[in-house]
Symmetry: C2
Subunit: 183 residues, 2 copies
């Protein structure tokens, strides 16, 4: 998102390095207000029901028509755990208890941090929502591995099942690199 006008006074912006700073920022030519752009936090979870996990088929871009885990932007005033449970409710109508941290991803090329939790569905109630055309429980072998919306979700699921196979869960921080250009 480019900042063309100052949100404080409506003035025109210029790019520059403020005094004492070492990054280029959008600075207002009129009132001097500095606009900082920082990474956003995405929170989500792996909702478990017995040996199955709950996934949703996206009804919105990006990744429309592909499968994902419930996840979305953390809101102001919200804990990460509350945000992950809220996104799960919004995208799947499923209620979860967040049981622990699973993976934290740096995704620097899109200015995002992804925090994925392990979670347990509190009942077998779930279903489609404005954001998801299908919401479905999958055993590991049933997961549509070739039709997953985001590489960070693919990685989360692979790690989750390999730890589950090993019989112990851990927490790790990983970095997703920008995909190589085609051609």
């Amino acid at each position: 998102m480019e900042i063309k006008f100052c949100s404080n006074c409506g003035g025109n912006m210029k790019q520059g390095i403020p005094h004492g700073d070492d990054h280029m920022r959008a600075i207002c030519t009129q009132c001097g207000f500095i606009h900082y752009l920082n990474p956003k936090v995405v929170v989500g979870c792996i909702p478990q029901w017995g040996d199955k996990i709950l996934m949703c088929k996206r009804n919105i871009e990006p990744g429309k028509g592909k499968w994902t885990l419930p996840a979305g932007y953390l809101e102001n005033g919200e804990t990460m755990e509350a945000g992950a449970a809220r996104e799960t409710l919004e995208e799947t109508r499923g209620m979860v208890n967040i049981t622990g941290p699973c993976r934290l991803f740096n995704i620097p090329h899109v200015n995002q941090i992804y925090m994925m939790f392990r979670a347990e569905l509190t009942s077998r109630e779930f279903g489609p929502t404005p954001e998801s055309t299908h919401v479905q429980l999958f055993q590991k072998e049933e997961i549509p591995w070739d039709n997953i919306a985001f590489s960070v979700i693919h990685k989360t699921l692979k790690d989750f099942f390999s730890e589950k196979h090993r019989g112990s869960h851990s927490f790790e921080i990983k970095t997703m690199e920008a995909p190589l250009p085609h051609g």
Copy 2:
């Protein structure tokens, strides 16, 4: 930070709930642009040198004159580990290797997520900077516990030393509540 003018077209803003959303947002009355405000990520570390840790005395508000661990806002395009090392360099002139995650804090009342890492100084070189009047190594008993700038830093240090005493480090997510009003 209140959004008074649209950063896209300079138009006046109104508060409202966009279609398909359930949160109040700042919406442009002229071009319809929606401005989202999301939590910011602060990254920092506990720089270790033998049995001592490196702290800095703040030269800027908030908490000017009080002691803290090096930490600051994660920048776009940066991993959390790189951000923590950069902040350490900027605030203490010390170079660190990030060795692992220590604590992740929800601080919902100030719309922040704090990620604190364990780290090791790569040399004994450090010193004051524009952001820190003093930079100093402390053994646990020497830490100015009553003069620490932020409760999240106090908690990080308490947890770190209690785990060190136990002989094993873990990772945990915690939530800092708003302080009770005085009086």
